[in-house]
Each structure stands twice: as C-alpha cells, then as structure tokens.
Subunit: 349 residues, 3 copies
C-alpha cells in the first residue's frame, strides 16, 4: 500500500499538515480524500485560469481556518470536509460577476471581502447539515456551497459596488420547440469533458480531463463513474433534443457526474442493483437540473450543484427501504474499490 | 365482516395478488387500502378518458414493480403504498403535454420512456420520505408524486421532442380585482364534484361521483369528508370572490378534499376537536392552494397536491402539542370507522 | 430580585393571567418573556398606529385562545410562546392590503375573518416546528408567522373581496448599477431605529426607540444586540452601496437585529467566540434578506423575517460542531445576563 502511505504522509505533519488538508478539501469536491488528487485538480483549474485557481485555493484556506478557529472536529478538518464548499464558492462568485465567465475577472476589494465572509459561512453550514442529516447517515454534500451561493449571489443585485454578469439575467421560461438541433461529434466530446470541468465552473474540456486524472489517482471506479455520469447526461440531452450549446458547455453533465460518483460505489456498494440504481439516479439528475433551471429562471439564479444534492439525498435517504442495496455510511465511505473489498458485492445478511 | 373478507381475498394470492396490489395503489391515492375501491376509481378515470385510465394503470404497475425489484417491504407493497404516486404521475405528465387537457393525447415514444423513469423514481422517493417523517409517525402522502412531477415537468420545457401545453404558461401574478363574479348553482355543483375528480386530474363531475362511490365502498365517513372538504373549498372561493372558472373546474376543491379525508377521522380520531381541527385544515388548504399558485406562476408550474401535503404534514406534526386531539399512527390508520371503534371518541388517558 | 417578582406577579393569576400571557406573547416577538416589555412594545405600535396596535393585540389573543382550546402545554402558553406569531400576522396582512402601509387601513369584514383563521393557524404551526426542531434543541422562531403569511398573502391575489397593496407588485429582478447613492446621517439614524421598528412593520423610528426600551427593561444586553444588529446591517448597506431608501426604511436591519438578539447571548453564551459568531450571523443575515428579496420578486411576496429564521436556524443547528461556542437550550434561554451568570464566559468542560 505504498500509494496510500504516500497520500497520507503529510496528514499529521505539524507544519505541512495544513497544506495537506486544504488540498484534500479541493479533492473532496469530487469525494477524493487525497491531497495528490486535490493538487492535480487545482492544477486543472489553474490550467484554465490562474484567477479561478487562486480564489479556489484562498476559499479553501479560509473555510478551513474558520473551522479551526471554531474548534471543529479535527478529523473532519484533516479530511478536507471543511474545505470543499469553500473551494467552490469563490469560483461561483467570481464567475457570475465577471464579464468573462470562462477565465473570470479579478475581484475588486468589495468582492474580496464578500468572498471571505462567504467562505467562512460555508464552514458554519457543514455541521448544521451534519446535525440534520447525520442521524440518517446521509452526508451534507455540497449543500452548504449551494445555499451560501444563493444567499450571497442574489444579494449582489441589490448593491452598486459589485455588478453581476449577464449570466444571471432573469427571464420568463419558455418551451423549447421546433426542429431537434443537429448534434455533432463535438457535442459529445465537449459535452462529456466539459461536464467534468463544470463541476468547478471551468469551460475547458482539457481541465475536465485533468480533473478526471486527479480522480483516477485515488479511484479508478470513481473516475469511470464520473465519465459515465457525464456521458449519460449528454445522451439524455441528445435523445430528448436539448439545446446543443447547453450540452456542449457541460451543463447537462456536471450534476450527473457527481450523482454517479456518489451513488456508484461510494455511498452504495457497486453491485448490480447498485449500478442500475446509479443509472436511474443519473437519468433523474439530468431532468432535475433541467427542471430547477426553469424554476429558477424568473429570479435569474443558477442551479449550481443543487440537482445532484437533492437527487443524491433522496436516493440515500431511501436506503433502508431497499435491501437489494448495500449502503455505506459516510464515515466509512472511502473509495468504491475499498467498499467492494470490505462489503463484497453480495447481499446484506 | 364479509365485506372485509371479500376485499382482502386476493391480497396474498400467488398470481392474482399483483393485480390486487395495483388496484390498492390506485385506491391509496385517496387513502383506500381496498382493491374494489381502486377498481371503481380506475373505472371513473376510464369513464372520462381511456388514455388517462391506461397510463394510470401502467404507472401504478411500474412503480409497484420497481419496489419489488428493490426488495422493498412486502407489506407496504401489498397495501398499495408503492403504487399511488406512480398512479398519478403519468396522468400529470400526459395532462400537461396534451393539447386537450380533459381527455389527454396519447404520449409519443419519448414521453412513454420518460413516464417509465418517472413512475419508477416515485418508488425511490417513498422510503426517502419514510426515513424523514417516519420517526414523527407522519406519512409521506403524495409528496413523491408532487416532487417527481415538478422535477420532470420543468425539464420538458428544455427538450424539443416533447412539448408542453399552454396550461404551463409562466405569467406574472396579478391581483384579481373588480366586481365579484356572478356565481350560479352550477358553480357549486360542478365545483364540488370536479373537486373530487381533479384529485386524478379529471375534468368530469360524473367521474367525481364515481370516485366518491369508490371511497364510500371502503368508508362512508371518508366519502362524507371528501365531499365536505370539496364543498367547503367552494364556499371559501364563493365567499371571498375567486374566479368562477377556477371554482367550477374543481381547482379549489381537490387539495381540500384530500386534507379533509386525511385529518377527518383517518390520522386523527373524529371527535369534536378533531372535526373542528379538520375544518381549519380544509379552510387553510384552500388558501394554500391559491397562494402556491401565485408563488409558482412565474415558472408556470402547477400546484398539484402540494397544498394538501404541506398543510396535512404541519397539522400532523403538531399532534403531540395538542392533547385534545387523538392521533392515529399511519400504520394503524385504516378507516375513520375503525379508528373510532378502536380509540373511541373520548380523550386519551 | 424585586424586578423579577414584579414581572412574574400576574403569570399565574386566575383572571388577569390571560392578559399577562398575551403581553408576553407580544414581548416574545423579540424574545422577551416579560409582560412589561410586551406592554411597552404594544404602546410603541399604538404610538404609530392604533389600527396596527389593535390588530396586533387581537391576533395575539386569538392565537393564545386557540392553543388553550387545543389544550397545548400550559407553561408554553403562559410564556407567550403561542402568542408571538399571532401578534405579527395581522399586522402583516393589514400592512400589505392597505393603501397606507405606514399606519394601515381598517380591515373589512372579509379580512377580519381571514385574520382570525390566520392567527389561529399559527398556533398549529408552533408544535409542528417544535416536533421538527425540538430534538435539535433549536426553537421554531417566527417561522409559523412567515409561512402562514406566505400561505395567506399569496391567496389574497386570487380573491376580489380583498385587494392587496402595490407593495406586493411582482417584478423581474434587475441589478442595481450606477453611482453609489449619497448617504447622509439620516440614512444611519432612520435606518438603525426603523430597523428595530420594522420587526413589527412600523415605519416609525420613534416606535423603534420605544421598542428598544421595552427590550431593555428585560435585558440590557439584548437591547444592545438589537441596536448593534440593526447598525451593522446599515453599515453593510452603506459599504456595499444599497438603495438609500431601503436602508432608511429599516429594511436591511430588522432581520439582522433579530439574528443579533438570538445568537448574541440568548441561545449562545456571549463569550468572545460567541460574539464574533453573532457578528458573522448579522452580516450573513443582511445578505440573505437582500437575496431572498430577489428570489421572491417574481411572485411579489415579501421576505418578512425569513432571513433571520434561516440564518439563525443554521447557526444554531451547527452548535455541536463548534466546541468554542456554548449553546443554551431554548427551554433554558431567558436573558443573556442570566445565561452569562449560569454558564459563565468560559469554555464548556
């Protein structure tokens, strides 16, 4: 287990430990409790935009420091569980206030101060959702990030010192009719890999591939699941005739990829019913993303990862109803591989 | 108890049992764990539209099969508790995608596949809400149906292969002012019986009467409550001056009828405080239906039975606060008559 | 403790007790279980508008009577915990149906009947949220008021007999751009004290000062917290450049003042981490108020005290995650002063 040893070597280091926890925080956005995965993912973001890379790193540091200050559980902090929401929120705030969504504009002073409070507040949300969902052995997932972003992004519309981008334009939903778009191979290629990259708001398919590599360092099955989730989402979009641009930009895939990773082997053992259950979850997540977009359109707010969170919560809450599935408690869920080894592919006794 | 024997004769039958469970599933939409009630209600739907009857039957079958595949609790499946959400969802999806709301248009292939996934997903939601509400001894009601419909109906606006009807047109809410409409006796007649029929999306007052008969086969008090709920809702609409058409179409009544059945004798014993509590619940439900309509108008989404669900949940969650009421746990709630027999009309010790 | 004796002298009085409970109910809107505080606050409302004063008193009476009828816990009724939601709801309904928001118009018969049902229903909500949040030792706060108002206010748009005011006009959210407004000393003065008064929907800074006195009679720290919360909210509005009018009207402050009182000494002991945690809560509440306004704008519905409720719930649910904070269970939370005396400013063992 040299690999495991390597990834855990700095976790308890007196001075370098903090860097380890922060990198794990970035990895935990895609469920990887592994600083090397986190470092590769951070590199994937920097590859697309040094601005996004910088704010992502700072956000993770701030939320981790907040947890330390409030004396939160040391084990959770070390596992990056107080970092991953803070990793996402500054990227979201910068993306939706930048004229250039793809690489982002540097925040002004007002936005910097705003980001610090946001990232700190996500750390307050982590144990709040832990209290609500802990008794059900269901993790809070990225809900602290989603809720904090909705709380803070909407507010920006009421302030003159920070302007939001046109990506937040409120509209009245209208039905997409007319001929089915002409999809090309690019729809699939860009759609699938942007679907991975969009988890971190990156419009860059190469970043998507690097993120996949980061995941694969820690779990091959997880990487396959992410890929499958994003690909299935593209397939749904193509089959039902969604906007070509939305598919290509990876908007259909990023929630689906997260659901696939969560249900496919991590919080359920990947036996056959577990696999079919995951496929159902991915197909549903694709619709929920599309539907929440309609619900939110009049206010202009983005869906973020809420579709993934709602579907995964519901499908994890259901676990005691279905003995065909083998759930894994969040505290025991490491990688699909280890879950398979420990709990086997068979039925529960 | 020949009547009871008759209704339960097929429940454990090796081959015909499944048909029994499916019919109970249809009956459970209005809380009737009785295959004969279910069969009469199915007939009421077929009387109005063979399309709605067919999709209702198929949806119930799919959601019941999903529960069997996932090895869900056999007793719950046999009682139709994995069927009733699946009974409603295909009717909703067909109704809001048909040019003719009243009888529905036959779904295309894309919608058929869509319906299968939807109906299957409601079965996942049942134990999810069971996990959340079970500790409070509060049933999930039709929330799986409501949430799944919102999740899937909104998404249809983003796909070219399935178009939605004008009934989902998003608008900006405006205050209904001007002279009070001239209501006629028809407002009352149509309003009350369409209010029953609208539980199943049927614009047909005769279907409403047949459904009432289906309920009365299993419980007289339940049928009276449904009638009272719908009638009180019409009275509220007339007293406060609502749109005549909305009242006539039964839109005011269907949530109120369900609340009346749930609170009036089923999940609370029908003593005097229980009766007044039920009346309050019905009056509140009428407002909540009207209010949620305003909240949802900008997105164009329908209220469905969400008003009933929210009000009934709140009024059941409150039970431990009010010793004047005698709550009945969902597992023990059969019919108002049996509840009265077992728990009496008196106070708890 | 002559002061304590005085405030509790009538609590168990056979005939005057009821008046005591009602006044406590008004005081409990701002967490003061003290009839003298309640009386002073009621005077503050009457000072601005005898109509608002009258409906506030009647609403508190109705919701308290409803709880008595349903045999709710006597101790909770005596502490005014079944009154405070009923105190607020008639003011809200009158305010949003009056041409003159500041002093309100006298309700017509239809609205009077409406108010009675509303106030009664808030009492049903109290134990419902108690059941949901009680196990977490988190209070329901003014959620019964918020939810009931949303339920009933939206419905008014569908009825001709009661018209709503232009304050409920649905609009499409737009970003506030352009030069930062020229704030004056009045922005601060009016903003801070209207922020207190707006808790009770009063556009009157003198009422705000009288309410502060009412709070200070029971707890000096609580009054300071309310003032700090409102002042910090004004500071946020000024710093980020919000609409001058919104700040002046106290709209930024009323949720923030409530959060400050709840977190600052009442449900957490006011040690140093507790104080910083409170400041974070206040800053977040200000954003959440602004954000929820954007989310609700398409439906035209008001934010009410929902920002305070959501933020305070989350920050109380998080308590077990942060040993740096000393939480006080709702049943034990009397005043910040007594909490400090009992639990000290130090760390938990």
């Amino acid at each position: 287990m040299a690999d495991v040893a390597l990834k855990d070597r700095l976790r308890d280091h007196p001075t370098l430990g903090f860097a380890d926890w922060v990198l794990r925080g970035i990895g935990q956005v895609v469920f990887q409790n592994n600083p090397i995965s986190g470092a590769v993912i951070l590199a994937a973001i920097f590859y697309n935009s040094w601005i996004y890379g910088t704010v992502c790193l700072l956000g993770t540091i701030i939320s981790t420091l907040t947890a330390l200050w409030l004396k939160a559980d040391r084990g959770m902090i070390k596992d990056g569980l107080y970092g991953f929401n803070g990793a996402l929120i500054p990227i979201a705030l910068v993306a939706y206030t930048s004229q250039n969504f793809t690489t982002g504009n540097m925040p002004n002073v007002h936005l910097w101060i705003y980001i610090v409070l946001c990232a700190a507040f996500t750390s307050v949300m982590v144990p709040a959702f832990g209290a609500l969902l802990g008794p059900h052995k269901v993790p809070g997932l990225t809900m602290p990030f989603v809720l904090t972003t909705w709380f803070f992004l909407g507010a920006l519309l009421q302030f003159t010192t920070i302007d939001v981008s046109t990506a937040l334009k409120p509209t009245s939903p209208s039905d997409f009719t007319g001929p089915r778009p002409d999809y090309t191979l690019d729809t699939w290629n860009f759609g699938i890999f942007n679907g991975i990259a969009e988890i971190f708001f990156q419009d860059n398919w190469i970043s998507g591939i690097i993120i996949l590599i980061g995941i694969a360092i820690n779990t091959r099955i997880g990487a396959v699941m992410a890929l499958m989730g994003s690909a299935l989402a593209v397939a749904v979009g193509v089959f039902y005739g969604a906007h070509d641009e939305a598919i290509r930009d990876g908007l259909f895939g990023y929630n689906a990829a997260l659901t696939a990773m969560a249900l496919g082997g991590l919080f359920y053992v990947l036996n056959l019913p577990g696999f079919i259950y995951t496929v159902i979850g991915v197909l549903v997540t694709t619709r929920v993303w599309a539907s929440l977009g309609i619900f939110l359109e009049p206010s202009g707010m983005p869906v973020l990862t809420s579709a993934f969170v709602f579907v995964t919560w519901l499908m994890l809450l259901a676990k005691n109803g279905f003995p065909a599935l083998i759930p894994v408690a969040p505290a025991d869920a490491t990688t699909p591989e280890e879950n398979l080894k420990r709990f086997g592919g068979g039925q529960k006794a």
